[in-house]
C-alpha cells in the first residue's frame, strides 16, 4: 500500500517550506531583474501551489482518476493560452485589409519595442 496519510511532521515541514518560498519571492521582488521578476515570482508561486496540491491536497497518495481530474483543468487552460497567444503574437504579420489601425496598434507597438528595426 503506497498510501500514507499526512502526519504532523510532514505537515510542519511543508508549512515551513511554503513560508520559506513566500519570503524568497518577497525578497526577489526587491531586485530589478526585468523579465526575471515575472519568471521568479510566478515560478515560486507555481512551486508553492504544487506543494499544496501534492502534500496538503493528497495528490501524492491519490488514484489515477483523481490525478487526471486535478491536472485536466491546467491542461485545458494551456490550450486556451497557447492558441490565443498564437493569434495575438502574429496579428501584425499579415495585416488583413479589414484590420483597423487601432486594433493593431498595441501589437505593432509591442513588436517595435521588442525587435530593433532594420
Amino acid at each position: 500500500m503506497r498510501r500514507t496519510a499526512n502526519n504532523p511532521v510532514r505537515i510542519l515541514a511543508t508549512w515551513v517550506a511554503l513560508l520559506t518560498l513566500l519570503v524568497a519571492s518577497a525578497a526577489v521582488s526587491r531586485w530589478h531583474l526585468g523579465i526575471g521578476n515575472l519568471v521568479a515570482s510566478l515560478g515560486i508561486a507555481l512551486a508553492k501551489g504544487a506543494i499544496v496540491a501534492w502534500i496538503f491536497m493528497g495528490l501524492r497518495d491519490a488514484s489515477m482518476s483523481i490525478r487526471i481530474a486535478a491536472s485536466i483543468g491546467a491542461a485545458l487552460l494551456l490550450v486556451l493560452v497557447a492558441l490565443s497567444t498564437l493569434d495575438m503574437t502574429h496579428r501584425a504579420d499579415l495585416a488583413a485589409p479589414y484590420q483597423r489601425p487601432e486594433q493593431l496598434a498595441p501589437v505593432i507597438e509591442q513588436r517595435h519595442a521588442a525587435t530593433p528595426r532594420r
Partner: protein
C-alpha cells in the same frame, strides 16, 4: 415483472411539495422536461415571428430593433434554456442511473439544486425579455454589447451565469455517478454508448462552462463600470472577448450534439436488431469529439481580425474534429446492414438524425475552409449549417429519445401511427425550412437582417412555409403524448425488446429503481434478443 404492490415513482407522493422537493432523479427529469418544453415553445414563438417577418422582403412586421431582440431571444432561449439541458438533464437524469444499475445519482440533492438554478436563470432571462429584451445577438459581441446597446444586457447575462452553474453541477453529478456508482461487473467497455456520450458531455459541461461564467462577469463589469478590458482605447482587446466566449461556445455545441449521438446509438441497434458496429471506436470517437472540440473555437473568428497563422491552425483542427463524427456516421450505417429494421417513430427520428447531421457536418467543413468562409460567414449558410445540426440533429434525437423511453418513463404507449406521421412531417418541414437557407447564404443573404433585396424572396417564402409545417410536426407530440398519459395503452417492462439495464425494471420504475441490483450484461448491445427474453 410488474409487481402491483410497490408504487412506481409517479405514485410515490402525490403532493406538489413531494414533486418540488423530490431528490429522485426520475422526478427531477420530469421537472426539467416540463420547464424545457415551456422554453422551447417561447423560443419557437420568437422563431415564428422571425419567419413571418422574413416571408416578405420589406421589414414590415417589426422594426429593426425589435427584430434584433427577436433573434437574440430565440438564440439565447434555444441554446441555454432548451438545447443544453434537453438531453442531458431530461433523458440523462432519468435514464443514466437505470442504465448503470444505480439507485440514484451520486448527489441527489445537488441534482435538485441544479433544477432550481436552471429555473431561476430562465426566469431572470425571461424578465430581461419582458423589460425590453436584448438586441445584441446570443453572441454578445463587444463593443456593441458593452458600449452601445440600450437593452437589458446585464440582466440577461446574470441569467446565463446562473443557468451555467446548473450545467456545471449536473455535469459534476454525472461524472461522479458514472465513475463510482456502476453496478459490480459493469466495466467501462460494457457500458451503453449513451453513458459514454453523457460522460464526455459532462466533461465539457464542467470544464467549458466556467469560462462562460467569467466572460459574463467581465462583460457585466465592462458594461457597468466602463473599465475597458475589451476596448483597445483603454489597452484592452475586443478579440479577447471572442476568444473567451468561443472557447466555451464551441464546446457548447458538442454539449448539444454528443448526447444526441448517444441516443441514436441506443435506438439504431434496437430497431435494427443488430449489435452496434464498432463499439470501441464509437466510444473513442465520443471522447475524441469532446477533446478535439476544445481546440477549434477560432473558426468562429476567421474574419474578426484573428491572425492568419491562427486561422490556418484553427482551420486544420476543424477539419480534424470532423473525423470522429464521420466514424460515428459510418458505424451507425454499418449497424443497419443486414439488420431487420422496424420503422417505429424512435427509429424514424434516429435515421433522420443520421442524414441531417451528416449534411450539417459536411457544411461545417465548407465553413472551416478559410477561403469559403470569407464569403459564407455571417450569411444564411451558417444559419442553415447550425440548424441542420441543432434542429435536424439534436432536436430530432431528443424527440427520438422521448418516444423511445416514453413507455419506461410513463408506463404508457403513445399512438404509433400519429407519431410516425409527426416524424415525417418534422423531417419534411425541417428540410423545406432550412435547405433554402443554404442557397440563400451562398447567394449572399446576410443573417440577422430583417429586410432583404427582392431577389431572395422565393427562397425565403419556401423557408417560411417549411417553418409552418415544422411547427405542426412539433405540436402533434404535445397533443398525443398528453393523450397517452390518460388513454394510452399500458406499457410492459420492455416493449421494444431492447437491451440495457433500464428495460430490466418495471415501466414506470419504482422509486428505488431496482428491487435487487441487476446483473451486468456480458456484452453491451446484445441483439437480436433471444426468444426467452422476448417480452412477456
Amino acid at each position: 415483472m410488474i409487481d402491483g404492490t410497490e408504487p412506481s415513482y409517479l405514485r410515490d407522493g402525490l403532493s406538489l411539495r413531494s414533486w418540488l422537493l423530490s431528490t429522485d432523479h426520475k422526478r427531477i427529469a420530469i421537472l426539467y422536461a416540463l420547464a424545457i418544453t415551456a422554453f422551447f415553445f417561447i423560443g419557437g414563438a420568437a422563431a415564428t415571428l422571425i419567419r413571418i417577418e422574413l416571408a416578405t422582403p420589406a421589414g414590415d412586421l417589426v422594426s429593426d430593433d425589435a427584430y434584433n431582440k427577436l433573434f437574440t431571444a430565440h438564440g439565447v432561449i434555444m441554446v441555454w434554456l432548451f438545447l443544453i439541458p434537453s438531453i442531458p438533464s431530461v433523458v440523462g437524469n432519468f435514464v443514466l442511473p437505470l442504465m448503470i444499475g444505480a439507485r440514484d445519482l451520486a448527489f441527489p440533492r445537488l441534482n435538485l439544486l441544479s433544477w432550481y438554478l436552471y429555473v431561476a436563470g430562465g426566469l431572470i432571462i425571461l424578465a430581461a425579455l419582458a423589460t425590453g429584451g436584448v438586441d445584441t445577438g446570443w453572441t454578445f459581441y463587444t463593443p456593441y454589447t458593452t458600449m452601445f446597446s440600450n437593452s437589458s444586457v446585464v440582466l440577461t447575462l446574470v441569467g446565463i451565469f446562473v443557468t451555467g452553474f446548473s450545467s456545471i453541477l449536473t455535469g459534476l453529478n454525472f461524472i461522479v455517478t458514472i465513475h463510482l456508482l456502476r453496478v459490480p461487473g459493469l466495466g467501462w467497455f460494457r457500458l451503453p454508448l449513451f453513458v459514454w456520450s453523457t460522460y464526455a458531455t459532462s466533461l465539457i459541461l464542467v470544464l467549458a462552462t466556467p469560462v462562460l461564467a467569467i466572460t459574463t462577469v467581465l462583460l457585466v463589469a465592462e458594461r457597468l463600470f466602463q473599465i475597458g478590458v475589451f476596448d483597445p482605447a483603454h489597452g484592452g482587446d475586443p478579440l479577447l472577448f471572442q476568444h473567451l466566449f468561443w472557447f466555451y461556445s464551441h464546446p457548447a455545441v458538442y454539449i448539444m450534439v454528443l448526447p444526441a449521438m448517444g441516443v441514436v446509438s441506443e435506438i439504431i441497434p434496437c430497431f435494427a436488431s443488430r449489435s452496434l458496429f464498432g463499439y470501441r471506436f464509437m466510444a473513442y470517437a465520443v471522447l475524441a469529439i469532446a477533446g478535439v472540440g476544445f481546440l477549434v473555437w477560432g473558426h468562429h473568428m476567421f474574419v474578426s481580425g484573428q491572425s492568419p497563422l491562427a486561422n490556418l491552425v484553427f482551420s486544420l483542427l476543424s477539419f480534424i474534429v470532423a473525423v470522429p463524427s464521420a466514424i460515428k456516421v459510418f458505424n451507425w450505417t454499418a449497424t443497419l446492414y443486414k439488420g431487420s429494421i422496424r420503422f417505429d417513430a424512435p427509429m424514424l427520428y434516429a435515421l433522420g438524425f443520421v442524414g441531417l447531421f451528416t449534411i450539417g457536418g459536411l457544411t461545417g467543413l465548407f465553413l472551416a475552409s478559410l477561403a469559403l468562409d470569407v464569403h459564407l460567414t455571417d450569411t444564411y449558410f451558417v444559419v442553415a449549417h447550425f440548424h441542420y445540426i441543432m434542429v435536424g440533429g439534436a432536436v430530432m434525437a431528443f424527440f427520438g429519445a422521448l418516444h423511445f423511453w416514453w413507455p419506461k418513463v410513463t408506463g404508457r404507449l403513445y399512438p404509433e401511427g400519429l407519431a410516425r406521421a409527426a416524424a415525417l412531417i418534422v423531417f419534411f418541414g425541417f428540410n423545406l425550412t432550412f435547405f433554402p437557407q443554404f442557397l440563400l447564404g451562398y447567394q449572399g443573404m446576410p443573417r440577422r437582417y430583417h429586410a432583404y433585396p427582392p431577389e431572395y424572396t422565393v427562397l425565403n417564402v419556401l423557408s417560411s412555409a417549411g417553418a409552418s409545417i415544422l411547427a405542426v410536426g412539433y405540436l402533434m407530440p404535445l397533443a398525443y403524448f398528453a393523450w397517452s398519459l390518460w388513454r394510452g395503452a399500458r406499457a410492459a417492462d420492455n416493449p421494444w425488446q431492447a437491451a440495457g439495464l433500464e428495460w430490466q425494471t418495471a415501466s414506470p420504475p419504482p422509486t428505488h429503481n431496482f428491487d435487487a441490483p441487476p446483473r451486468a450484461p456480458e456484452v453491451p448491445y446484445d441483439y437480436p434478443p433471444r426468444p426467452a427474453e422476448q417480452n412477456a
